[in-house]
């Protein structure tokens, strides 16, 4: 092929350099630093080679460089398989390929490699900026491919043409995205070397662990309610339930059973919602208390917490129903009640004494003990703060009777301790409380700083009852938000502050866009596809009918685009149509009309071939020439032309 072996021009070399830079620069944070520097050096070398028009390095050197690059990547990762090593290797190859741009074939190969690297970016992040950046790179790469075919047009011209081509491809892309039969699970979920550092609740709670989260405004999950949004004070998002206490740290009990469906006595009205959980690397799936239905691939623990069968490493979306007024655990297993009474063997003598006192005075009446405990907490005048002092061995006593300053984990821990000391089963529940409605799209956004800890006490006849000791001392935390409850002057995450309204507004809008992207682009899974197709009238879509619809729609778009491009050619001049009939008739006589030949010239030639018809031929050609090229074409001339051609029979 002559085209494939045409040498690469300087202009094409500049194009390819720009494309390689655009394709590999976004990957710089993913590959090791030495590789970024090496690739940058090679790009600079390539620029110098193009600028000075030096010779390309010899082939033996290129072979050595390829081996060196591969070995370097292998030394870095101890493998060349997998996501990051694979991408690193491709970056090496792309940079080196620039050094052996000799003929057009090399240019095309480089451009195709750049396309692949654009895809590679999505193995790391799938955010909107990544997608926009990828679109830009796609444009440059396509323009480069055009320049590889013909480098004479100006860069603006190439970019415009590439943009037009991509715009023409856009409808097909959308159709493919919406209709191509999807496989379960996101394409990007391949390797598991992500989530090395995600913040979120853990399965244990020690003083300060939740206060730490309160400094993060990362999003934990988003909720879309199907009906009215319940009041703020009812939004308890249940997370890990902790019963085991060693005097300092609360932990989830290891030996828990699971229910396959919720064992509650249902009461009151349910709350339905869709929850989109950000990946947090743990098993639990947050749900409004008390969770009624279960997400797919999950089970309900005996302490009423939905847990996934696999750690949540990808964004998941599930539909849930909550029963805020359900009665849970009216007939609780004795083993669980037993666990909920255990206290460490020593320590905290003052609260133990008070608990024993309630027990002695009130006996088995756990309702009265609970009321006494609540009353006690109220009278202690505890202070809710982000910066509690460090407590020593008897941390509960020090908190309740000493400095009285604590965050929600102190409140919950102290409350459960006091109830257990009085012989009432109780446990700590961690999770999130509240959230904020984004007015832009109506989603409730729950952020890390909404993390909270509260308690549950078991009352005979009523089952597990939620008590939030923080609400007793600092009702603002529950009724408003956590910023309102914290004393003025304490450091708050930016978004929790209420005085930066414009920033909040901006953030709300951005978040709504991100959420839409997550819900409809990244979260477009088989279920969403099925929903969309059934709402379009395609019942029970399977891959066959989807492929059929896809083919039909792609064909329709193709036809539409073709018609758009040909719209000028389709509008044939009637005189030209008549002329074509005339030339077709003459071509049967062996007189072919050459497409570049003017009508009068053709008439002379045809007349010479068929002298008997010379007069008619000249007349017809004259009429046609006047109709097609003359000023103000005359309708009667057209009729005469048609009549003459109809009667013309050489």
């Amino acid at each position: 092929m002559a085209r494939a072996s045409r040498p690469v021009s300087r202009r094409q070399a500049w194009w390819l350099l720009a494309t390689a830079l655009a394709a590999s620069a976004p990957l710089a944070p993913q590959v090791p630093l030495w590789l970024s520097i090496t690739a940058g050096g090679i790009f600079a070398l390539r620029a110098a080679l193009t600028w000075r028009q030096w010779h390309l390095p010899p082939r033996w050197l290129m072979v050595l460089l390829v081996i060196a690059g591969t070995v370097g990547v292998f030394m870095q990762y101890r493998t060349i398989m997998g996501r990051t090593p694979g991408i690193a290797l491709l970056v090496v190859f792309l940079a080196l390929k620039l050094l052996e741009l000799r003929v057009a074939r090399d240019a095309v190969a480089t451009a195709l490699l750049c396309y692949f690297l654009v895809l590679g970016q999505f193995l790391f992040t799938q955010t909107i900026p990544t997608a926009l950046m990828a679109c830009l790179t796609l444009l440059v790469t396509t323009a480069t491919l055009l320049a590889a075919a013909d480098d004479r047009p100006s860069p603006q011209h190439q970019l415009r043409r590439a943009g037009l081509m991509l715009a023409q491809a856009l409808p097909f892309m959308l159709l493919m995205f919406l209709l191509f039969p999807r496989v379960q699970g996101p394409l990007w979920g391949l390797p598991q070397d992500r989530f090395s550092a995600v913040s979120g609740l853990s399965d244990s709670m020690s003083p300060g662990s939740i206060a730490q989260l309160s400094q993060s405004d990362a999003i934990a999950f988003r909720v879309q309610f199907k009906g009215d949004v319940p009041p703020q004070s009812q939004l308890y998002w249940r997370g890990p339930v902790m019963s085991a206490f060693d005097g300092r740290t609360w932990r989830v009990t290891r030996k828990r059973g699971t229910y396959s469906e919720a064992p509650y006595a249902v009461a009151g009205a349910p709350v339905d919602y869709d929850l989109t959980l950000e990946p947090h690397g743990q098993f639990w799936m947050f749900a409004l208390e008390l969770p009624g239905t279960l997400p797919a691939n999950s089970a309900l623990t005996t302490d009423y917490q939905p847990i996934a069968r696999q750690a949540v490493r990808n964004r998941v979306r599930y539909t849930q129903r909550a029963w805020p007024e359900a009665i849970a655990g009216a007939t609780e297993l004795p083993r669980i009640l037993q666990e909920s009474l255990v206290l460490p063997s020593g320590g905290n003598p003052r609260i133990r004494a008070i608990g024993a006192e309630w027990r002695a005075k009130l006996g088995d009446d756990s309702t009265a003990i609970l009321a006494a405990a609540e009353n006690f907490f109220l009278q202690q005048l505890l202070i809710y703060t982000l910066n509690p002092p460090l407590y020593g061995a008897d941390m509960i006593d020090e908190f309740l009777f000493g400095s009285k300053r604590g965050f929600c984990e102190h409140f919950a821990a102290a409350f459960v301790y006091s109830l257990r000391a009085a012989g009432v089963p109780a446990r700590v529940v961690a999770g999130y409380q509240g959230g904020e409605i984004n007015p832009v799209d109506g989603y409730l956004v729950v952020r890390q700083y909404d993390a909270h800890a509260w308690t549950e006490a078991w009352i005979a006849g009523r089952g597990w009852v939620r008590v939030d000791p923080t609400a007793i001392s600092a009702p603002g935390r529950i009724n408003n938000n956590f910023a309102a409850a914290v004393p003025a002057g304490e450091a708050l995450p930016f978004l929790a502050r209420s005085d930066l309204a414009w920033l909040k507004e901006l953030r709300n809008r951005l978040d709504a866009v991100t959420n839409g992207w997550n819900q409809w682009v990244l979260g477009y899974n088989p279920e969403r596809q099925r929903d969309l197709l059934s709402s379009l009238g395609l019942k029970e879509p399977d891959w066959r009918s989807m492929t059929a619809v896809l083919s039909v729609l792609c064909g329709a778009v193709l036809l539409g685009l073709t018609a758009w491009i040909l719209r000028n050619r389709l509008r044939v001049d009637p005189a030209l149509a008549a002329w074509r009939r005339f030339t077709a008739r003459l071509s049967k006589r062996g007189i072919e009309w050459r497409t570049w030949e003017g009508p009068l010239d053709f008439a002379e030639r045809a007349a010479a071939h068929a002298p008997t018809h010379a007069v008619t031929i000249r007349e017809i050609a004259g009429l046609y020439a006047r109709l097609r090229y003359g000023p103000a074409p005359d309708e009667s001339d057209l009729i005469r032309l048609r009549t003459k051609i109809a009667a013309f029979n050489p």
Partner: protein
């Protein structure tokens, strides 16, 4: 219907310059299209006679400037000379202040002198010593140049060549015409005896009529298709410029008028195309002398009529 005065003009010229109907028609078309003409040919084939006859039958003033390598712009444009009687400078107009200028052997002069002429051609006025003087109307330059491979020539750059609407060649006459020439009367005498067929006012009217010849959308499509082909095809170094397209359309209009039509046909465009591309398209392969007719034919046959 063909215009009788144009037919008469052509007949007069053809009587004196024998066997050159096509170049003569093209040069008249060039004049009607308000352009300037470049003739590249060997000495002695009748360039001067053609210019002289044209001026004569059209009733125009005629001047001839012989370009030489020591020529200065003032030799063309004119010069101010101190008049001792009146005690002031008086401008003595150069030979360019006329209606038909024959610029003979233009590529013998230095670029400085060449550009003086070419600027006057473009602006149709002369600026000397701070004063701008309009050239007479109509104003028509016929420049001749020797084939550029001859010794002692300064080839005109492409941008200057583009200012000539058409470039034609006269060539040797065929034997029959040459025989008639040799046997016939003295050409100079014949020119001197010629009577003008029209006056300058009529000529300006004819130029206006040329401009009014209709070019339909289909025809403009064709001109664009031709230009587009020269711009994308790898055969040529550079394509036809928009100015070249305008020139093509203008000459084709004149050609149609000479044929007695009020609209342009593709045939008109094709007939004048060699004169348009001869000095504007340069094939990539053979950079030496190229035959304008062959270049135009290749272009015509590559572009179907829209």
């Amino acid at each position: 219907m063909r215009l009788p005065e144009l037919e008469a003009i052509l007949a007069d010229i053809n009587r004196i310059i024998l066997g050159k109907e096509r170049p003569i028609r093209l040069s008249l078309a060039c004049l009607l299209a308000r352009g300037h003409l470049l003739i590249e040919d060997l000495p002695g084939v009748g360039k001067t006679t053609l210019a002289h006859v044209l001026a004569r039958v059209l009733g125009l003033d005629f001047q001839r400037i012989q370009f030489t390598s020591d020529m200065l712009p003032a030799d063309i444009l004119g010069i101010s000379i101190f008049d001792r009687d009146s005690g002031a400078f008086h401008f003595h107009p150069g030979p360019i202040f006329t209606q038909v200028v024959l610029a003979d052997e233009i590529n013998r002069a230095t670029p400085k002198a060449q550009s003086a002429l070419l600027e006057a051609m473009e602006e149709r006025q002369v600026t000397a010593e701070g004063k701008t003087r309009a050239l007479p109307q109509p104003f028509f330059v016929i420049a001749t140049q020797n084939p550029t491979h001859q010794i002692g020539t300064f080839p005109l750059p492409e941008s200057q060549l583009d200012r000539f609407l058409l470039k034609i060649e006269l060539g040797y006459p065929d034997p029959a015409a040459e025989r008639e020439l040799l046997a016939g009367a003295d050409r100079q005498q014949m020119v001197a005896n010629l009577n003008p067929r029209i006056d300058p006012k009529n000529l300006i009217e004819l130029q206006d009529r040329t401009r009014a010849v209709h070019a339909s959308a289909a025809l403009i499509d064709y001109v664009q298709a031709l230009a587009a082909h020269t711009r994308t095809s790898p055969k040529w170094q550079a394509g036809l410029s928009p100015r070249a397209c305008l020139a093509l359309l203008a000459v084709a209009r004149a050609w149609a008028l000479l044929d007695g039509r009020d609209h342009v046909l593709p045939e008109d465009v094709q007939s004048v195309l060699p004169g348009i591309v001869a000095h504007r398209l340069r094939p990539l392969e053979d950079t030496a002398r190229t035959d304008a007719d062959a270049v135009a034919a290749a272009l015509i046959e590559a572009v179907p009529l829209p």
